[in-house]
């Protein structure tokens, strides 16, 4: 029986319970992940991190949440009141909605019904997530605009440009997955990975998705929308109390959401690691939930690792990287993937497929060689501007020496 039929047989109350479960899981995961992030970052920076509230500081984020909720709620006089209130709600709603199509377990027994821990399965599930994500950006942009202040506006505008350009790269990285799985439903994509994870067979797509998901969630090193060194707090500068807490919640649910999507699309979803398939039947199938969250935590750890390691990118470098590197690379990769797919569907021999692969690699290497030499030439040419000789001794500039060596 297909998972779609299985989910279709859920009674109404079970769907409601599952909806509640998804909400509770997201909120709990947020509370845990905030503490974990602070602990991991402090470990990386050789500090202790939160250690006062609860054992090992484990309920610090709960205490912070209560504190945030009890703070004074300020709406600036220059703000557009309605939009100002709606913006955080949009942000939060959108990121919770994207969780509806993520399958978190295999077939399990939930209150006497055979079902999956997944709210619903759509034939276009992954596209649905993209749609909801693009709706969620409105939260940030509107928050920036409605605050009636300069820094939030700049943050909101940055965010809109950022998410639009990285969403293109993200959508393109998903195309290869759609081509190979022949479906856009999350469950069918997981089923298509039973031999090899797409993270291995479609490695370039995986890398592009992983980069663009960091850009999409406004996290370091791509957190230009709230760059605290330049824009105070970015789009949420004017927010306080519960409304600010909602943005906070949205950010973390969003991170968990994109990590869950990455798990589903590239790491085999709730399935066990290769060779450990027998564990999937433990606890009546509920053990798959542990596998799912183990993989999601891996992505979350990488998010924290990036934040602890990399400085924030400059805005123009960031846009250049998105448009001039990620998008062209994904387009070329899609062409290669679809050619390979067509070859294997038409039963081309291994020699043909292999020689195509070798040809592609050769072409790419040659192109890279040309680009590299063109770049070197440009650097030398650029630095040959008019330079007045100063009256005091200065060391020779490095490019001058390179020029002499060249010729």
């Amino acid at each position: 029986m297909s998972t779609l039929e299985l989910l279709g047989k859920d009674p109404g109350w079970l769907t409601a319970v599952k909806g509640l479960l998804v909400f509770v899981i997201c909120v709990l995961a947020t509370l845990i992940s905030i503490v974990m992030e602070r602990k991991i970052v402090s470990w990386m920076q050789m500090r202790i991190g939160p250690n006062r509230t609860g054992p090992f500081g484990s309920i610090q984020s709960l205490a912070d949440g209560v504190k945030l909720a009890l703070k004074e709620d300020i709406i600036p006089t220059a703000a557009d009141r309605i939009v100002f209130v709606i913006a955080p709600v949009i942000s939060v709603t959108a990121c919770f909605m994207s969780f509806a199509v993520i399958p978190m377990t295999g077939v399990v027994n939930l209150f006497g019904h055979k079902t999956l821990l997944q709210l619903t399965d759509l034939p276009v599930g992954v596209l649905y997530i993209l749609a909801v994500a693009s709706f969620g950006v409105y939260g940030i942009v509107l928050a920036g605009w409605s605050s009636g202040s300069t820094y939030p506006l700049l943050g909101g505008l940055r965010s809109s440009a950022q998410v639009i350009s990285y969403e293109v790269a993200m959508g393109l990285s998903l195309v290869a997955v759609f081509i190979y799985s022949g479906s856009m439903s999350t469950n069918a994509i997981i089923a298509a990975q039973h031999n090899w994870w797409f993270g291995v067979t479609l490695f370039p797509s995986f890398v592009i998705y992983a980069i663009s998901m960091v850009g999409e969630t406004n996290r370091a090193p791509f957190d230009l929308a709230e760059a605290e060194g330049e824009l105070v707090g970015g789009f949420h500068t004017e927010y306080s109390s519960l409304k600010f807490a909602l943005f906070f919640l949205a950010e973390y649910v969003n991170i968990i959401g994109v990590s869950a999507l990455a798990t589903t699309l590239f790491l085999g979803g709730y399935h066990a690691l290769p060779g450990l398939g027998f564990t999937e039947n433990w606890l009546g199938g509920w053990f798959t939930l542990i596998w799912f969250f183990a993989k999601v935590s891996l992505f979350f750890y990488i998010f924290v690792w990036l934040r602890g390691t990399l400085p924030r990118m400059r805005y123009d470098q960031f846009m250049k990287f998105g448009w001039k590197v990620l998008i062209p690379v994904s387009l070329i990769w899609i062409m290669i993937v679809s050619t390979l797919r067509l070859m294997s569907q038409n039963g081309a021999s291994r020699i043909v497929v292999g020689s195509f692969g070798v040809g592609v690699v050769l072409v790419i290497l040659t192109a890279m060689q040309f680009m590299e030499s063109a770049k070197k030439k440009r650097i030398v040419e650029d630095s040959l501007g008019e330079v007045a000789t100063p009256s005091f001794p200065v060391p020779e500039l490095p490019t001058k020496r390179a020029e002499q060596l060249n010729g």
């Binding site: 557009d80 007045a388 500039l397």
Partner: protein
Amino acid sequence: MLNLALQMGATKTPEAVLFWIMAPVAVIAALGMLFAKKAVHSALLLAWVMITLAFFYIAEGALFLGIVQVVVYTGAVMMLFLFILMLVGVDSSDSLVETIKGQRATAIVAAIGLGGLLLSLVGRATVGAQAIGVETANVKGNVQGLAEELFTKYVWAFEVVSALLITAALGAMVLAHSQNTKSRTAQRDQSIARFRKSSLAEAAGLPAPGVFARHNAVDVPALLPDGSAAAASISGTLKSRGDMLESAIFELEVKEVEED
């Protein structure tokens, strides 16, 4: 008309409930879009109308179309939003004064013409045409069915439209692009230039505004070691506006130091 109403009454209950809740919302949002004073509010209501339309598509069984509607139109309205910010300004409202002579009359004529054109086209496609029903259309799957139509029967129209869109995008880029006669100085060039001046005073960057210990506002010049004000520490904008304060009044009083 009566026939249409009867047909509507015959739809399944959940769909009818959805329709009678969402349709008024969509109509109210559309009217709000026309009558909202702020252009940004209009853009937001437009986004809402598009999302309610997506709900209807999904309820009618066109899942893919509904989702794509959200993906495409949220991006499109976002662009509209940015254009409003760039062209109209952050919070200026619509002015109802006619600035171009005869604009209102021309606009009305053009609107009627466009409406007539749309009506005739949509009418030609729907009136008298035999609908095969969504079940038949979705036999091979909604996405697959749509893809087959798009890439076989309508491939020419599809390609023409995409060529048109690409031309428009390229045209906009060409019109908006300006070529610099000199290459812009990058961070690296500026850094080199700082060390190639006759004085190294500014090599480490300009002094920050404010006087140490008594005042650190952006409009108060910093003091140099000899006690004179450093004009270079104030931003050029403030200087040209004349918004510069005298820093001498914020200096530490020497008397207190002597008492110690």
